[in-house]
Symmetry: C2
Subunit: 330 residues, 2 copies
DNA sequence: TTGAAAGCGCTACCAC
DNA sequence: GTGGTAGCGCTTTCAA
């Protein structure tokens, strides 16, 4: 089914059909109706590949996230998608499972599809990929990774602040032996969280002890981190998790071992995903405004070249949300 | 950056560049290298819109799910994606939030992009949409909704069996007053689950009482359903949930009200998502093989026209997975 | 308000 | 092995 067949059936030119389909209101109402009827009768669906090719511009935004199973990413995606939809765009979603090779493949695919812009909500990164995107000339926005400037915007969370708040809060509750449960040591933003935790601890000097365990980004990974932690003989009174998703596994493994939360051990998460409120006990965590991030990302991408209205770099401070998984040190 | 520029730089024809880029091994090694070098030097990314248009076939599979926040759908998506990737395809993801208008828009977008096939993992449906897909001639696979035949495959879960197993199990534990917590009464597969629950209850006749509450598909929705249920004065000793995702909210609301699980009330889920194992108490549920569904969907879509190897309709029976959220009736 | 026709960047067929 | 070139289905001048 092509434009031409529709044109033939409606007895007009392809140009006119195109005008109707694109709502160029120069078309006479009667012919418009004719065209629409013909299109419907033929079950016509415009070939978007041809449209993008001919028009030169695409109505798709490319988005890449590290882990579709982690609600954090889905929340950002949904906000991005909603904002895009409002502006008449759709979103092409790619996910990497934290692997740089998949990141690279995703970026190439999206550039190949001539996306109107790229949102990289990922923890893994590679300078070559950043350069490839820059060279492609596409507007881009990075969350956590990448550098701002030119057509690229950077949204960054101050993990240091967040971790400091968590540690300080736990310290004030009397905790002196704390552990960190994370994943993917090698990826910079995750490393940053761990480092931030360690740095926050360091401020208390010799009074405190800490330890870190890394696994993978899932509840199962959280459980595994706890096994590793406790297996090492270290006896923390608080466990700080890199995110809420893993924290769910931490809670469960602790329970399985008969360790009461927060009675014996306090636990904190990071992100404040919806589920954090539904764990038992409900999770104390640091809020990251995922919806705002998604919206900002879209705005940044669709911004006019000239109008430097929006900042090219934005910094977010995570807010501490106290629930029931933390309490005084035993 | 176009094929032609690459050709110019490599001093070959566009045809040759195309051959190299498509790995048609008729090209001499030396020219192949020249071309690759030129492409790399120019940061060339083939325009996939043009490729699809010219080639006539696309390497993308379209997938539509109802709720990206419900891990059930993400699990199916991931399996589908992995299988597609293996075969050299990528997946275009759409989500509907259970709205038929978005379903329709998603289908149109995917047909417009000339996806190689459509996977509809959704609860909402509309005969007109099914007809539109059929008329488009694209291979399609439906989960839960739609009818098999022609180029379309149907994957269906026997909710009746699943619900029967849940109810029977609870009955055997002594439960006589049970409630159902679901969402979207109007959507057929969800209605089926509810009906199946009611039917299963009916088999026990006057000995048992039941009640249903509908909310939306999220933990918050589950919590809300409990409020509605208990607010009505009904005092169930067991709550059967339409899925695990909502069950998480049911558990939490019960706890908030001081109702012990499974001491006072037993709770069951449906789907057996990873998180079901991480709730407190761990959730008794019915397993649906999400990974297998994703894989089967892909295979069905990529199947040769002629080879009727795979069945055009497949039925799955959910298996009961007993964990800690169920126990003897008080 | 409408039509004719020149591309958009690529593939695939036909020559050489 | 390689090049020339006719489309793929659409948008977008330019004329009428």
């Amino acid at each position: 089914m092509t434009l031409e067949e529709v044109a033939r059936r409606a007895k007009v030119s392809t140009a006119t059909v195109s005008r109707v389909l694109n709502n160029l209101d120069v078309v006479r109402e009667s012919t418009r109706r004719k065209v629409l009827q013909a299109a419907a009768a033929l079950n016509y669906h415009p070939n978007l590949n041809a449209r993008t090719l001919a028009g030169g511009k695409s109505r798709s935004i490319g988005a890449i996230v590290s882990n579709l199973s982690n609600p954090f990413f889905v929340d950002v995606l949904r906000a991005l998608d909603a904002a895009a939809r409002e502006r008449g765009y759709d979103v092409l979603i790619e996910h990497t499972d934290y692997r740089v090779t998949r990141l690279r493949a995703g970026v190439r695919s999206l550039i190949g599809k001539r996306a109107a812009g790229l949102a990289l909500i990922v923890s893994e990164m590679d300078p070559a990929v950043i350069e490839e995107i820059r060279a492609s000339g596409l507007p881009a926005v990075y969350y956590d990774v990448g550098a701002a400037g030119g057509k690229t915007t950077n949204i960054r969370v101050r993990y240091e602040t967040g971790m400091q708040r968590a540690v300080q809060y736990l310290y004030s509750l009397g905790h002196r032996r704390m552990a960190f449960a994370g994943h993917h040591a090698a990826l910079s933003p995750l490393e940053v969280r761990k480092k931030a935790f360690l740095a926050a601890m360091k401020r208390y000097g010799r009074q405190v002890q800490s330890r870190a365990a890394l696994s993978h980004d899932s509840p199962a990974g959280g459980a595994q981190a706890v096994r590793e932690l406790l297996g090492s003989g270290f006896r923390p009174t608080a466990i700080v998790c890199v995110n809420d998703y893993m924290a769910m596994g931490v809670l469960r493994e602790l329970r399985a071992r008969g360790v009461a939360v927060p009675g014996d051990v306090s636990v904190t998460g990071f992100d404040n995903i919806e589920l954090a409120e539904f764990t038992n006990p409900a999770l104390t965590t640091l809020d990251i405004p995922r919806a705002a991030i998604g919206r900002m990302a879209l705005e940044a991408l669709l911004q006019e070249e000239g109008s430097e209205t929006a900042p090219r770099e934005v910094l977010l401070d995570p807010e501490l949300v106290v629930r029931d998984s933390t309490g005084p040190a035993r």
